[in-house]
């Protein structure tokens, strides 16, 4: 059977190669699709830390994804209209600089994850799933009804934000940027997985009593992981908003949470490259099945059901035949 590390390398090369080939052939839309996959995979990598390593089944990660998106939307819209976000007690101006936006998106989603996590992690199991779902919906309804930033209409940013040295409106350049971020974050999450913290997180998933007995507090470990996970989703949200040049409450809806979770599970929960593989399969299915039938979501549903029932290790699990990291 294929070794997982070899498979990962192959996947990585494929994701670099296809858009480059498409660029050569002038297939611009293929690059856009690949960029979308990268961005959604990034959110999946974030969720995978909570879900795969930490065993926290969160149905509320769309909240962090959306908050990242809105961080971008709000900063960029103020920069476009030259109206400061606030003047008292101190002046905050909007910005069109991606790095600055990313930092703020990460901070804002991290704060939200801290608040939601601190409450939700007091519970576990099914309670946790439902509570994260409910908090996500709370933020969703708030975003729809709060008129300041477009409500349900969302916010349009007519031009992509700036990144030093790049023309982000050129699809292949923006793809390269997203791919670089994804690669960096996957690398970071691999370091995290094997670090002291990663060991504590995985041990906590496997046996909470053991964690307590060695003198560590599971709640704190989970909360830190939840915040890191939320921050990555926030970054993904900001980049995704830039890809679409648009943010809206849809980013916050529980269907988005479900989809991010599907990416992770389709690929194989807890595996490093699962989100990338899962997102790629999902987006391609959406792309091709949509042309076959108006009722294509039935087939998507059936396929998902098959994966859950018969291939619990996801696609990477099928290919490597290593037993699921999570059971």
């Amino acid at each position: 059977m294929i070794k997982e590390t070899d498979l990962n390398t192959a996947i990585w090369l494929l994701f670099l190669g296809v858009p480059l080939a498409a660029w050569q052939m002038g297939e611009i839309y293929t690059i856009t699709l690949a960029t979308k996959i990268c961005v959604l995979a990034l959110a999946g990598v974030g969720l995978n830390i909570a879900l795969g390593l930490g065993g926290m089944v969160s149905l509320g990660h769309a909240a962090f994804f959306g908050i990242g998106g809105y961080a971008m939307g709000i900063l960029a819209s103020h920069a476009q209209s030259y109206a400061p976000i606030m003047e008292t007690p101190f002046l905050i101006e909007g910005t069109k600089s991606m790095p600055v936006i990313w930092v703020l998106a990460i901070i804002m989603s991290g704060i939200a994850a801290l608040a939601i996590g601190a409450l939700s992690l007091r519970t576990n199991g099914a309670y946790f799933i439902m509570i994260t779902l409910a908090f996500g919906q709370m933020i969703y309804f708030f975003a729809i009804s709060w008129p300041a930033y477009g409500g349900e209409d969302g916010l349009s940013i007519y031009v992509r934000n700036d990144f030093p040295g790049l023309n982000t409106l050129v699809p292949i350049q923006f793809f390269a940027l997203c791919f670089a971020i994804l690669t960096a974050v996957i690398f970071l999450s691999s370091r995290l997985e094997h670090s002291r913290f990663g060991m504590a997180l995985q041990a906590t998933r496997q046996n909470e009593t053991r964690t307590q007995a060695v003198g560590l507090t599971p709640y704190k470990i989970r909360l830190i992981a939840f915040v890191i996970s939320g921050m990555i989703c926030g970054l993904a949200g900001a980049v995704s908003a830039d890809l679409n040049r648009f943010v809206s409450p849809t980013m916050l809806s529980w269907h988005t949470s479900g989809e991010i979770m599907i990416f992770v599970i389709l690929g194989g929960t807890g595996r490093l490259f699962a989100p990338l593989v899962g997102a790629a399969i999902y987006i391609m299915l959406e792309h091709f099945l949509g042309g076959v039938s108006d009722y294509w979501q039935i087939f998507l549903g059936l396929l998902l059901l098959m994966v859950v029932l018969f291939a619990p290790g996801g696609v990477i699990g099928l290919l490597t035949k290593r037993e699921a990291a999570h059971d």
């Binding site: 370091r191 002291r196 990663g198 060991m199 504590a200 496997q206 007995a213």
Partner: protein, 250 residues
Amino acid sequence: MTDILDVRAISKSFGALKASDNISLSLKSGEIHALIGPNGAGKSTLINQIAGGLKPDSGSVHFAGQDITSLAAPARARLGLGRTFQISQLAPEMTVLQNTVFGALGSDGRVSRFWHPVMKDKPLLEIARSALERVGLAHRSGERVSEISHGERRQLEVAVALTQKPKAFLMDEPMAGLGHGGSERLTGFLRDLKQEAPILLVEHDMDAVFALADRISVLVYGRIIASGTPTDIRSNPLVREAYLGDEGET
């Protein structure tokens, strides 16, 4: 000899059931103090209150000169209360070595390190390897916990507890399911270990208890009915009475 662990008059009720009824208990350095009693006597409840899983309704628990009654389990572990469980509590997907390293990591406490691989951390590895050597499990380092035998898991639990360099051990039926040879080996090991840190031992294996214990306390219906040396306990009429119906089982 000083008291490392001092349980002072704790009580705990679940509804009408008095699981712990005004229990006082101490553990001095260098000793093995065995806690015995028939099933349902309230041993698990008592252990849980000492380890931090349950809070007593009244009374207090002191450890290494500090009142730990309101501390949670992890904080008690950090103070040096090492623990093994009645049913093995290990991370099943991690290897034997990883579980031991995790123990060392816990007592080291510096968990918020996100970058360096923990399995290349020399000090932690050293602590872990020497603990595995001591329990005789070094040759199984690379196995996943889900693959090793029941007896090996019991050894591993002791090894993990060792990495924490505890001031006292709390051992809940370490002999259970070990078989005759295994029990004997562990008996010898614990006899040496008590010099390092005293052991509060809950055990059903009466041979081991009477061979090992310096003191024995007998718990029946949530009360300590007798406490003393093995010889005292053997001849105590109350103990004989309490155990009469249960002899076969113990």
